[in-house]
């Protein structure tokens, strides 16, 4: 069955958030999902870091304002961490 639009939208948003935090906030790519089950999910903390940087409400959740900021055209250099 075609995925329900909301679920599709949500899936896209999660992908956007993960890619954004990997690109600009040093979120480690995580290609071993089963490991993730054991370890703490670093994404909310990274999201808070990003929200704090942009002066957004620090919720640790991908709320509308946060997603809007992530969709803005921007510089490719990370906001934190190394870029060499």
């Amino acid at each position: 069955f075609p995925v329900a639009p909301e679920a599709e939208e949500e899936r896209k948003n999660i992908a956007l958030v993960e890619t954004y935090l990997q690109n600009f906030y040093n979120l480690q790519k995580d290609d071993q999902p089963h490991v993730r089950l054991k370890s703490v999910n670093p994404l909310p903390e990274k999201l808070k870091e990003m929200q704090e940087f942009f002066g957004l409400k620090v919720t640790g959740k991908p709320d509308l304002e946060t997603l809007e900021m992530m969709k803005k055209p921007r510089c490719g250099v990370p906001d934190i961490g190394k870029y060499v």
Binding site: N23, F24, F53, F54, G55, M69, K72, P73, R74, C75, G76, V77, D79, G81, K82, Y83, V84
Partner: protein, 365 residues
């Protein structure tokens, strides 16, 4: 600052434009890059010399997708450009995504603004959390002719390379803070139930149902509007907002600038001796609009579309001790006058001031 505080060991740096975007004339690209370099050389001892071949300190190139630096571009929008911190080889280099719509004005992405930002990285700056700073990560258009390097960026780059050799040290604009007790306004108006406070290149936007005050560039909503709007008022009946700067005014219909503007303020009936309008508000009950210029005011009849006779009059004679006005707007039958950091609530029926507040009393401080 970039981690590890990298900086160039020399002040005399070289740059080379490796290739050009096909979307702009070469001369316009050269000019945009020169202007972007001067943004930094104007406030530091740094100098930039253009070279045509050989390896330069700062190599500027337009590339697409994967371009062998482990940081592929992503096509139109998204990531616009990136640059590397000072160092050998790729150090200091600027890469611009050649799939972006580069321009020299407000369309697409303004090349000057983006390169000026990336050169900040080339010189050792990282991103700033100040939304008004050039080194803020997201793109925001400013008319290059009006661009002044913000104080936040000046402080950053001078912390790395020291001050400029100029006899007078350059300073830059700061970003308004809603709860700054010394905050003053250029103009204030209502706009379809919201309140818009104009300050420099910014608008502080207050929606009655939201606690937060939003800070945006004027250019975000209206790229064609200049910064430094001096007066504004809403004609609620016509669903229009008029915005004034020097001897020109614009009309917003709904949220868009009406075609054919700016027009001259003298069309409204001002004498040629009036060079600018300081403040304005419109009384939706009487259809009269009040314009404040220095210590006098005019009254305009919105139905007749002409100035009433018997004006100008002295502000002091009809508005009490207010004297001069920076900004004004009407809400719920009261008129709010702003002068410096003081705000007066004025009852137009009783012709008296009923309250005095701080200028930023509308923000949840």
């Amino acid at each position: 600052f970039t981690e590890g505080n990298p900086k160039w060991k020399r002040n005399n740096l070289t740059y080379r434009i490796v290739n050009y975007t096909p979307l702009m004339r070469r001369a316009d690209v050269d000019e945009a890059i020169q202007k972007a370099l001067s943004v930094w050389s104007n406030v530091t001892p740094l100098t930039f010399q253009k070279i045509e071949d050989k390896m330069a300190d700062i190599m500027i190139s337009f590339v697409v997708r994967d371009h062998q630096d482990n940081s592929p571009f992503d096509g139109p929008n998204g990531q616009l450009a990136h640059a590397f911190q000072p160092g050998e080889a790729i150090g200091g280099d600027v890469h611009l995504d050649n799939e972006e719509y580069w321009t020299k004005d407000g369309r697409g992405y303004n090349l000057f603004i983006v390169i000026a930002h990336e050169l900040g990285h080339s010189l050792g700056l990282s991103h700033s959390t100040d939304p008004g700073a050039l080194m803020y990560p997201t793109y925001a258009y400013t008319d290059p002719k009006e661009f002044h390097l913000p104080q936040d960026d000046i402080d950053g780059i001078q912390a790395i390379y020291g001050q400029s050799n100029a006899p007078v040290q350059p300073t830059g604009p700061t970003t308004p803070q809603a709860c700054d007790p010394s905050l003053t306004f250029d103009a204030v108006t209502t706009l379809r139930g919201e309140m818009m406070f104009f300050k420099g290149r910014y608008i502080l936007r207050k929606h009655p149902q939201r606690i937060e005050t939003e800070l945006n560039f004027i250019s975000l909503f209206w790229p064609k509007l200049p910064s430094g709007i001096q007066a504004a008022y809403e004609n609620i009946e016509r669903d229009e907002v008029l915005l004034f700067k020097e001897d020109k005014y614009w009309v917003l219909r709904g949220y868009d600038i009406a075609p054919g503007y700016p027009k001259s303020i003298y069309r409204l009936g001002f004498p040629k001796t009036v060079k600018r309008v300081n403040a304005a508000y419109s009384d939706e009950n009487t259809g009269k609009t009040y314009f404040f210029v220095a210590d006098r005011y005019w009254r305009y009849d919105e139905n007749k579309r002409s100035m009433d006779h018997g004006y100008p009059r002295k502000i002091l004679s009809d508005f009490g001790k207010i004297g001069r006005v920076d900004a004004a707007f009407q809400k719920d039958g009261y008129v709010y006058f702003f002068h410096g950091t003081t705000q007066f609530q004025f009852d137009p029926r009783g012709k008296r001031i009923v309250r005095q507040m701080k200028s930023n009393s509308w923000f949840d401080c």
